[in-house]
Amino acid sequence: MLKSKTFVKKTRSGGVMKVVREHYLRDDIWCGSEVCTECKQESTVLQEDACIESNLCSYPHYLVPDTNVVLHQIDVLEDPVIRNVIILQTVLQEVRHRSAPVYKRLKDIIHEKEKHFYTFTNEHHRETFIEREPGESANDRNDRAIRVAVKWYNNHLNTLKSGPGGLKVVLLTNDQGNKQKGQEEIEEYIKSLIANPELVDRLALSDDNKNEITSSKVLFPEHLPLSKIQAGIKSGSFLQGTFRASRDNYLEATVFVQGQGEDSTEILIQGLQNLNRSVHQDVVAVQLLPQNQWVSPSSVVLQDDGTAKDDNVDKDEEEKVLKLSAAEAARKPTGKVVGIIKRNWRPFCGMLNVSQIKESTRHLFTPADRRIPRIRIETRQAATLAGQRIMVAIDGWPKDSRYPNGHFVRSLGSAGEKGTEEEVLLLEHDVPHQAFSQAVLSFLPKMPWTITPEDMAKREDLRHLTVCSVDPPGCTDIDDALHCRELENGNLEVGVHIADVSHFIRPGNALDKEAANRGTTVYLCGKRIDMVPELLSSNLCSLRSNVERFAFSCIWEMNKKAEVLKTRFTKSVINSKASLTYAEAQMRIDDTSKNDDITESLRGLNKLAKILKRQRIENGALTLSSLEVRFHIDSETHDPIDLQTKELMETNSMVEEFMLLANISVAQKIYEEFPECALLRKHPAPPPSNYDILIKAAKSKKVEIHIDSAKALADSLDVAKVDGFAYFNTLLRILATRCMMQAVYFCSGMDSDFHHYGLASPIYTHFTSPIRRYADIIVHRLLAAAIAADSTYPDLMDKHKQSALCTNLNYRHKMSQYAQRASVAFHTQLFFKTRGILNEEGFVLFVRKNAIIVLIPKFGLEGTVFFDTKDKVPPSLVFDEEGPTLKVEQHTFHIFDQVKVTISLDSSNIQHQKIRMALTEPVIPDVSVPAPEAEPQAKKQKLDR
């Protein structure tokens, strides 16, 4: 049977078009129930004994949620208890229309066999299709369609020949109108479920409940409707931007407005009213305030930590603090949020603040991310959840509520436990860390994997070369190997062999997409989140010793002065002769008694590397410094038992030099071949103002730093020495590192500035770590296409798609660094937890208005010593911006001053445990603390080990 669906729509040019679609109805759509004997279905989804024990519906039943239930209560539907659910096509379509993430989750549930979710295509069923009637809105029509389908199901199941089994279909809805027509409300239904009390918590708060929760007083101005916002943005009276809450002050935020091209502005938003229920990362519309109301960002740290404040009571008080600090001078454009264009809510990790009132079911939830406001949730299991890390989703933020309303999603485990904390930091940094899906794994080569003669025909056989790899200890994803040999003409042949990952990951398949999304492998302390499945990363692609592996080789002919005479690239097969650690390689080079091929090769490489490094430094490459720590992890408890700063050996820089050379050679080649779509990496020169702090700091020690060019900076850093202060140079370099910009990936067709400032190279890319970076895979593909070893594909040559990919890679890269840092910080805390209070020597790295930041070289640890604590009378503080110096009582702190501090773990706030430092030397009365007596003997032994 044929029906037609007619609707009118507006075309892009402003016209109006009538669209008519043919709609076929059929009579061979089956009900999907196991009981049914009439439907000629091949397999059934819905079970015969569909029992969810419920007080409300004591008979076996199937559930039919309506659209709003699916949209708002997807967390409940995901629970394993909820089974035998019929998802109507009407509902599915509406959900897809209204929320892509929920749609995806719903599809996932439907695919899960154990859940017994059945999609019924009621829109194409002859008996359940209905046409929209005059005067009926689209929503009403859909509601009617749902009711008709439910009715049909009930009739269908009742008139079975096999006799009615008492099976019924229950419509779950939140809609009053629907309810009056005799259906169940989701809230009541869930509450009626026996033995599943925790499910109630997952219920999202619906609109009608909110009045009970909050006082009826309106706290926030109404958000403007989208149409008005759009009109306002068009006319320029509103600005659209991303809302970024301040980490330190919950009453302050900036909205980042992307202007045309490069210029973008930041608008300051201050005060609860003006923030108007925006949450970090939302896209909002902002209206600028008149200039006389502009303020300057306050430098006060304000945390919203009152316990469950009553709405609006001390609002004025809170904001008074802000007003005071608004100095006349540094005023910034200030505005207020008038509407939300797009919410960017995700489930947030955090902890529950249990309400002081016993038996209360409403509690506040404090997210781990300080930029997210606290969320009010309803739960009956507060006692169990206290002390656990949980995830909470925001449902809405009514204008008469101080906090947004949300609901409990799931528990991650007890706070402070390693597994839980790791999970939290992965989630908070948006690191995809689920196990690889079956679809992804299906693209892996079948084991046992062997090299076929066809493979050999296409590749150069380099198995006879003395190739070896040098990596940090414990490395299983070896993606580079080297060789060096003398040629007959006296020149040297140097080869860098990189794992040929692009041979295994073909463009466009699920494996490729997953890797592109992950972007990079994330290394946490004692844990690695792989970008590609382990079979590739640790086996087939890893260039382990004494196995034949595919490689992409970059081979130079060099003379003894390390001048490159010839460069060629080839896909190859290699057989690494040894996998060495940096230390092992160093020992071989230093051990004069060894003269085997590997050692000779290493010595050759080392010699060349030294020359290359010298040349590079002469060109103005920067040698910067940052302290990296390594934890010694207990093999059983996986707790850190010791930590030490990483030391660098000659061999480290040897490998690094050749990797740089390979990257530069490849960058030149692919840019030459594909000037429009080469994926490169650049490091922009920082603006001179970035160096202010470095220059000031150096000046205080009578050292001058030149920043006119990278070369000048490198030279002045080299000569910067202070007698009797050996660590000074390292400290300066650490400071210089902080002045730098982020290096980023970009597509050569979309940018004109290619310069890599830090390496002083006009062009650079990443080629040498395809196992752990996706950018390298793309570069491999480009290079393979350039030497005609592989074919290209459309996306590779599309500069806009490449550019979009770069954006993702840069984001993932940044996030992985943050995650890494967070992981180190967490392990540092674990380490100090068992150490008690330590007394250590450190240097002042920065001087702030009310604090100094101290670096402890021994642990590579940075911490803040505050001078104004809340409970004490603050000492007299005089801050001089020029120095910068801080005078505390009689003592003046300069940058680079040597101090002694105690280190302890402050776990007063379990969610934000931090390292607390307190001054012991120099001794300032009432400020410094006495040094701890002597460290406990047992602990000390462990340390010295």
């Binding site: 009118v8 729509k9 402003g14 016209g15 109006v16 009538k18 929209r132 809105s137 068009k234 006319s235």
Partner: protein, 291 residues
């Protein structure tokens, strides 16, 4: 125009018959052949009608699109006509054979219908000088058996009656920019007032008398014919002579009078029929093209 060959003897027979007010198919001189009308036959138009008159069959589809008003009349919409002489109708139309006729027909239709006396063109205006509805009237000749004009005019009137134009609102922001907003209810639409839309009556001079709704044979016997468009009140809005022969003033006067009479008689049952069909609503059983 599609023609048939008629022998002298046949001509005399037809002529004599008409003289005695008895036509070959048994009709009187002012009688129409059997007529069938169905509206809303093409779903992807905004209004459509199919009319068969004897063996003549025409299909009219109307599409409403947003356009810019003509500069001379900024507060009026307008109609555009296109007549497609399909080769289905007669083999002569094959290739570009029907083009000339098509142009002639559409020009005539434009003259007859596109004026504010026959249709309230102001109601088609959305915002003066900027947006108005343009009604594209597409006429498709499915079969030619004489008297195309009358059949087309009836079909156009029926299609205009059937036309549903989506209702639009103009929202303006403070800067003066205007945006067209569309109601999301497909049943929320504007109807046209077709009360004053005229019908064309073609009178063929055969011998000393004249006939309406001439068949192809009768047409072959006639030297000239007169098109008169008549409103339901009997007002003549347009008259045009077609054919090679000449008409004396007296017979022009007579024919006009007859045309008024016939036209008035045609309107009343037509409107009744259309209203009756409309009142059936969605329950109406559609006949379509295969019925």
């Amino acid at each position: 125009m599609a023609t048939v060959q008629v022998s002298e003897a046949e001509k005399v027979y037809i002529l004599h018959g008409i003289r005695d007010d008895l036509r070959v198919d048994g009709r009187g001189c002012e009688d129409y052949r059997h007529m069938e009308i169905e509206t809303d036959v093409v779903s992807n138009t905004d209004g459509s009608a199919k009319v068969t008159l004897g063996h003549t069959a025409v299909l009219v589809g109307i599409k409403a699109e947003i356009g810019k008003p003509r500069p001379m009349v900024p507060n009026e919409g307008y109609l555009e006509f296109f007549v497609d002489c399909s080769a289905n109708a007669t083999p002569e139309f094959e290739g570009r054979g029907g083009e000339e006729l098509g142009t002639e027909l559409s020009n005539t239709l434009y003259r007859v219908f596109n004026n504010k006396h026959s249709l309230d063109l102001r109601s088609l205006c959305i915002s003066p000088g900027e947006h108005c509805w343009v009604l594209y009237v597409d006429v498709l000749l499915l079969q030619c058996d004489g008297n195309l004009y009358d059949a087309m005019s009836v079909a156009i009137k029926a299609a205009l009656f059937n036309t549903k134009i989506p209702r639009v609102n103009i929202s303006s922001d403070d800067e003066g920019g205007k945006e067209i907003e569309l109601s999301d209810d497909p049943f929320d639409c504007m109807r046209l007032d077709v009360e004053n839309v005229p019908c064309i009556v073609t009178l063929c001079k055969v011998g000393h008398r004249h006939v309406v709704d001439a068949t192809l044979q009768e047409k072959a016997c006639s030297v000239a014919s007169l098109l008169i468009s008549v409103t339901h009140k009997g007002a003549v809005t347009c008259a045009r002579k077609v054919g090679g022969g000449s008409l004396d003033p007296e017979s022009v006067f007579e024919m006009t009078e007859a045309g008024k009479r016939v036209g008035k008689a045609l309107h009343a049952p037509l409107m009744a029929l259309l209203r009756q069909e409309e009142s059936l609503g969605m329950k109406r059983h559609k006949v379509g093209f295969l019925g």
